[in-house]
């Protein structure tokens, strides 16, 4: 009893908020594991949910590095590629390796790469660092295309997803891949959420806000930066595995090009920097935008709106949105969402 009283005194619990959070989490679980597998159509899962989940996870990873730790990276898709090709090779070359272990090993490979390409961050800042992350982008793409070993000597460097199974249970169906994806994303997101609310997470933010000041108050800046690169790349690498194994099923190195890196960067810009929720909102937005634009274009212009025009107008809309968000709402969709919630809340009360 005394202990309880002490705890309560130390941390006043906002019961209403806790209940609300629990309800939200329960609802999320019910939707993710009950409603979606039972009712979602194949199209919804294959074309929207799977890319959404993989991109969200990649965005969570990049957000850790760029949003929380302030190190701009333009090489995210290189780390996705390392994860995807890493998982492919671990699975191919080690007999009977469990899927979870394969994915973790792939993540670790990506983390290793991340640390190597994060090393320049110890000396470089800002643009110089951003440009040097491009080196990762081009180098990885080149190496994967050039050395056949990575793709088991496929002439065009293409890899195909292996048979996916956990504990003998096949996950090759759309629903199975969805369950694999959603579980991975949830587990990793929960870990990231813990991380950013820990002392390490606060170190990240200190390094972002003012590196010199962070050093003065005793934050181990170098270690923090490398840690951010490692964890971020680990997560992006696993996102790459999801992208390759659950969504596309067949990928080539060229699929992990600079445009993909920019796409992930745009997700966190639109969704909101330094916000986990923002990564999901941004990813949802990016996945739905082309579908929405093609419907809208077909409706407005009919046959004139072919895939080329769609591609170009998508670029324009995306570019304009980035600028608009940077000007009008630098905290992205996440902040918009909050404001909307507050407005609804104040009206109802």
């Amino acid at each position: 009893m005394a202990v309880q009283a002490l705890d309560a005194a130390r941390l006043p619990v906002d019961w209403a908020k806790l209940v609300q959070k629990l309800a939200l989490a329960t609802a999320l679980f019910v939707v993710a594991y009950g409603v979606v597998p039972a009712y979602a159509s194949g199209y919804l899962v294959e074309a929207i949910l799977l890319p959404f989940l993989a991109l969200s996870l990649a965005a969570v990873g990049l957000n850790l590095l760029t949003g929380y730790c302030g190190q701009l990276s333009l090489g995210s898709s290189a780390f996705m590629a390392v994860g995807a090709f890493g998982a492919y090779n671990f699975n191919l070359r080690v007999e009977g390796l469990p899927l979870a272990v394969t994915m973790i090993l792939a993540g670790i490979s990506a983390a290793g790469f991340g640390v190597v390409f994060g090393l320049p961050s110890l000396r470089l800042r800002g643009f110089y660092l951003a440009v040097s992350t491009l080196a990762a982008q081009f180098f990885v793409q080149w190496a994967l295309t050039k050395f056949g070993w990575f793709s088991n000597d496929n002439p065009s460097g293409v890899i195909s997803a292996p048979h996916l199974a956990v504990a003998g249970l096949s996950l090759d169906s759309a629903t199975g891949r969805y369950l694999l994806s959603v579980t991975t994303v949830m587990v990793l997101t929960a870990l990231v959420w813990r991380l950013v609310n820990s002392a390490t997470g606060r170190n990240f933010i200190a390094v972002r806000d003012n590196e010199t000041a962070a050093r003065v108050i005793g934050v181990p800046v170098l270690r923090t930066k490398l840690l951010a690169f490692a964890i971020s790349s680990f997560i992006i690498g696993i996102a790459g595995v999801l992208w390759a194994f659950t969504y596309l099923r067949t990928v080539e190195p060229a699929g992990f090009n600079l445009d993909r890196s920019f796409q992930i960067l745009f997700i966190i810009l639109i969704g909101g920097l330094a916000s986990i929720r923002g990564a999901f909102l941004g990813a949802a937005f990016i996945v739905v935008l082309p579908l929405f634009l093609s419907r809208l274009g077909a409706f407005l212009f009919g046959g004139l709106f072919d895939s080329g025009v769609l591609d170009m107008s998508q670029r324009i809309v995306l570019g304009a949105l980035i600028i608009i968000f940077l000007i009008a709402e630098p905290s992205g969709l996440s902040a918009l969402f909050d404001r909307l919630k507050r407005r609804i809340g104040s009206r109802s009360s």
């Binding site: 080196a135 050039k146 000041a213 670029r315 600028i323």
Partner: protein, 298 residues
Amino acid sequence: MSYYDFLFVIEVLVGGLLSGVMYSLVAIGFVLIYKTSGVLNFAQGSMVLFAALTFVSLVERGIPFALSLLITFAVMVALGFTIERTVLRPLVNRSPMTLFMATLGLSYIIEGAAQLIWGTQVHGLDLGIDDTPFEVGGILISSFDLLAAAIAAAMVAGLSAFFYWTRIGLAFRAVADDQFAALAVGLRLPRIWGTVWTAAGFVALVAGLLWGARLGIQFSLSLIVLKALPVLVLGGFDSILGAIVGGLIIGASEKLAEVYLGPFVGGGIEGWFAYALALVVLLVRPSGLFGQKTAERV
């Protein structure tokens, strides 16, 4: 090494230096904007594409060469001032990273718009320059590259003269030196930025014509931004001299590496070699060869 091997090295080196000039040409556009507004303009590559595509489309519609050049320049002026008004002004006083990301968005818009307006097909561009290599002391030199180098040199000379002997050039230098002081003495920052973006647009036009004549005018032209970035990193973002020297170093070492290192690793290393080289230099000099060092304050 025999005499012929030696000649071959020289030939590779000269070819590399000349192609380095082409990189410098793109990099100078970046430096102009970075110096005066602190923005790393990722959209420079798409401006190159936009200028070249506009020009070639006008020429193909039967408009005379000189007039097309004039119209394209006018379009670039309009583009420069529009960018200042719609993107830079609302983002004034925001972090350099924010501005950089805004130019990323801008590059998407310009690329999309250029191809939406003029189409996505590849255009050939003939500037009427003869591209037969000629021989100097046993070394073959491309006359096109040489002319491109001459044009680049003329442009740099012109820009330098502009910076040193005109009022607006003086204003540019004042802004580059200290924005707040420049504002305090009454310089109109918006107009200067608009002009600087126009100047960068002009550089983009020149680069676009030369690169376009070389590669054909198509989407991949905007990717030369990726060739210019290591040059900038190597030379320092805020130095025109750095852009030139960086371009020369990258051009020459890239060609030498392709010839002497490429065969050992399967070739195709030009995609990342420049970046690796720039990184190595950065590790020794974190603000490039000629970049300004910034003091850190808490």
